[in-house]
């Protein structure tokens, strides 16, 4: 058979085939699709194959926000099809380039249309008004699409208004090798029927019919039964004829290879401090007293996949760059929502966001980066947020809530009006525990109560002002929490950086030895010498410029590493930390 035309739009399902929380199994020209509607209404058309081990995603689960593979529980996000969680490695954030192959999806005339490499738009149906059509039951046929389409040219049916008649005059209005438009008239009644034959595989197809007039009540069912009966008869005849011919060979789909970097162990890919995306401020709103919420939508295409705990760099109109956590729940992939607190001593970051940036403005942002990954293998997870520190923890709490995993979100704030994103908080129900108006001493006592009684299988995530984090970390350590179960993110590094030392840095993989003089950072020096290194906050808080130390004694000045990691001396944040030994060997 000739090479199929992969540029043409075909219906692959009816809209009514996609109820919420269902995965529809579709196929077009030999290629299978897993088709699912997210709770926000978005229709996803994906290659029906988990990238990990090739298992059909159509046997997986649609939880309304993500599709979960049945084999290893990998989770793929609504819209982007990016993998957000790999349960076998709960401590790691999956490389965000693990993205399933997606295909376009357009809902029109009650049908879902797709194609491998579509050209142009979904065809407009002359005589059919969007929203007023009646979609017939799809009829699968074990016969080639072109043979079925040929048969449909002589299909005879009654118009909706004269179902009981038998002498309708049927005229062929238009036809192609996979579609037929017919008009039936009798006694003043007049119905246009358009049929598309979806080429499923070489010898299999589905007849999808649309009528120009939606009937109501029992009449509607009668019309659908009328066509169902006639089309079933047509199907039986087409199948009898096809059975008499040799069965055509199935069309073998070609699966795209995964990228070379993913064929190795997935690592977070290096990116510089780049603004890769342009977004529009779709909404600016008061998230709480003193906290502005921003909903950022892509100018074109889709936003990249994010994971709970991820942040973006926002490049502001005044040239400043600031990091903000994404607060979205899983699968909310149409926009990013961030919260910005107006800092009284703002050097221009939060002030600019609050005072200058308006709805409709375009901002440049980085891809999301996750240095605060969420484990989902805890028996119970505690989130402890102070003030604006709620933002990453809110995303995390929503992810656990969606998976029905046990957690408590403790939110320390001055008063109720300072609690941000109240609609999202409300959806967390009794898992949200506000602690309002506590002074530092009372906060400490409350933290002590919350962290009391550590048991294996618990994890705590902390985010908030520096003094509160310091207190919480030391209380946790005192109460027996191992470092590996205490996760934290500082907004900023308030330590005074001592950059007076000078030392030598050897880059093991690049075979390079560089001098770091007083007043310069390791990050600056290696970049000047052509080594690409990702970074974000550049003040030792976010963890993006983390690097492995092979030899030498780091002089840690960051607030990202925990005490065990500091003692181990095998990691360094190159934007602020330095060397105590005259020479430091890095795995770069």
């Amino acid at each position: 058979m000739p090479e199929p035309d992969r540029s043409r739009w075909h219906p692959i399902a009816a809209s009514h085939d996609l109820p919420f929380r269902h995965v529809y199994h579709a196929q077009l020209l030999g290629r299978e699709f897993a088709v699912w509607r997210a709770d926000d209404g978005y229709v996803n058309v994906w290659e029906n194959r988990c990238l990990h081990r090739g298992v059909r995603l159509s046997i997986g689960m649609n939880d309304g926000r993500e599709l979960k593979c049945q084999y290893h529980g990998w989770r793929y996000a609504n819209r982007t099809a990016g993998c957000t969680y790999i349960p076998a490695h709960p401590a790691d954030a999956p490389a965000r380039t693990i993205t399933n192959r997606t295909f376009p999806a357009v809902e029109r005339y009650g049908l879902v249309w797709s194609a491998e490499e579509p050209v142009g738009e979904v065809p407009a149906l002359a005589g059919v008004t969007e929203g007023r059509q009646l979609v017939l039951r799809g009829i699968p046929v074990n016969a080639a699409a072109e043979d079925v389409a040929e048969r449909l040219r002589s299909y005879r049916f009654q118009p909706n208004g004269a179902l009981d008649g038998k002498d309708a005059e049927v005229a062929l209005e238009a036809a192609s090798d996979t579609s037929v438009a017919l008009r039936s008239r009798e006694a003043g009644a007049d119905t246009l029927a358009v049929f598309f034959v979806q080429p499923v595989d070489a010898g299999r197809s589905v007849i999808r019919g649309v009528l120009d007039d939606d009937a109501e009540g029992p009449q509607r069912i009668a019309v659908m039964r009328h066509h169902n009966r006639l089309l079933s008869k047509l199907r039986d005849e087409a199948e009898r004829e096809a059975a008499g011919k040799p069965a055509p060979a199935s069309i073998e789909p070609v699966y795209e290879r995964v990228s070379a970097e993913l064929a190795e162990m997935p690592e977070v890919t290096p990116h510089g401090r780049k603004a890769a995306l342009r977004v529009e401020v779709a909404r600016k709103f008061a998230a709480a007293d003193g906290i502005a919420g921003f909903e950022l939508r892509p100018i074109k295409g889709l936003l990249p996949t994010f994971q709970p705990g991820a942040h973006i760099d926002v490049h502001m109109p005044n040239g400043e760059i600031r990091q903000y956590s994404i607060t979205n729940g899983p699968g909310e992939s149409a926009s990013y929502v961030i919260g910005v607190k107006l800092e009284p001593d703002s050097k221009g970051g939060s002030k600019c966001m609050h005072e200058t940036v308006r709805e409709g403005d375009v901002l440049a942002i980085s891809e999301p980066r996750n240095n605060f990954p969420l484990r989902r293998d805890a028996l119970k997870t505690l989130f402890i947020a102070g003030g604006i520190g709620i933002t990453p923890l809110l995303a995390m709490a929503q992810a656990l809530q969606n998976q029905r995993l046990a957690f408590e979100l403790h939110y320390f704030a001055q008063n109720e009006s300072q609690m941000a994103f109240r609609d999202r908080l409300a959806a967390l129900g009794s898992s949200l525990r506000p602690h309002l108006g506590l002074d530092p001493a009372a906060t400490g006592a409350e933290l002590r109560r919350l962290l009391h009684g550590y048991e294996a299988g618990r994890q705590v995530y902390l985010c908030g002002p520096g003094p509160m984090l310091e207190a919480a970390r030391s209380i946790a350590a005192e109460l027996g929490w191992p470092d590996s179960s205490v996760h934290f993110e500082y907004f900023k590094n308030t330590n005074t950086i001592d950059d007076s030392s000078s030392f030598e840095v050897a880059l093991a993989r690049s075979v390079m030895t560089l001098q770091v003089p007083a007043g310069r950072t390791i990050l600056e020096v290696i970049r000047e010498n052509g080594i690409e290194m990702p970074s974000s906050c550049e003040q030792g808080a976010c963890g993006t410029c983390l690097c492995t130390v092979i030899e030498g004694e780091p002089d840690h000045q960051d607030v990202y590493l925990n005490d065990a990691e500091r003692r181990a001396g095998t990691k360094i944040l190159t934007c602020v930390s330095r060397s105590k030994s005259p020479r430091l060997v890095l795995d770069l």
């Binding site: 919420f20 929380r21 269902h22 199994h25 309304g64 049945q70 589905v206 069912i221």
Partner: protein, 215 residues
């Protein structure tokens, strides 16, 4: 307590495990080594069921064979809501009886194909598969028009009945007999609905559904 003579991989035994779980009825399972041991053809089992078939239950002195018959008995006796087998509604009993017979047809086609492919039974697998497809087409059409008319289950009651339980297992297991369900979109949606009934349990070869969207 009810005793169920049970084989884990049998869809017919699963029908009873499913209904008893949904009804919250406790039972004791006595494993029968159907494969490879052919214990259902052993002397001791033939004394219980001369047909040499699973499942069989013993309850209160009653020995009962045949999955569909046992579903009827369990629902009639243990479902105080009288929904699963509405003993006072003759029309519904007629509908249920019709679909229980249909479920027997699914067993003799879809289950036969699965036994051929998985456990090497000497059956005409092409005939079994063709027969299953013929039944699935009829059921899919029935369920599709049901959705259009606001009916979610096999019978016209606004809730599931033993007919749904009787048809479900060998539809869900059909792919093990080389019978894909890709063409039966209404059946696939109905399978999700069955999996969301309170008390649903899985068997080997059947995965659970995601939770339904909150209303």
């Amino acid at each position: 307590m009810i005793t169920l003579y049970d084989y884990e991989l049998s869809g017919n035994c699963y029908k009873l495990r499913l209904l008893m779980s949904m009804l919250g009825v406790k039972y004791k399972a006595v494993p029968v080594d159907f494969y490879p041991g052919r214990e259902h053809k052993s002397e001791w089992f033939l004394a219980i069921n001369p047909l040499g078939q699973l499942p069989v239950i013993e309850d209160d002195g009653l020995i009962l064979r045949d999955a569909q018959a046992i579903l009827v008995y369990l629902a009639a006796r243990y479902d105080p809501s009288k929904k699963w087998y509405p003993v006072d509604d003759p029309k519904m009993l007629g509908e249920i009886g019709q679909w229980l017979a249909f479920a027997d047809g699914i067993t003799s086609t879809s289950s036969a194909a699965r036994l051929h492919d998985g456990l090497f039974y000497d059956f005409d697998v092409d005939a079994a598969r063709a027969g299953a497809h013929r039944l699935f087409r009829i059921l899919d059409e029935h369920l599709w028009f049901g959705e259009q008319e606001g009916r979610e289950w096999i019978c016209s009651a606004p809730h599931p009945t033993v007919a749904d339980i009787a048809c479900f297992p060998y539809i869900m297991l059909s792919e093990e007999g080389g019978i894909p369900r890709q063409d039966y979109s209404a059946i696939r949606r109905w399978c999700d609905r069955v999996k969301r009934i309170d008390g649903f349990v899985v068997m080997s070869g059947v995965f659970p559904a995601s939770p339904a969207r909150a209303a």
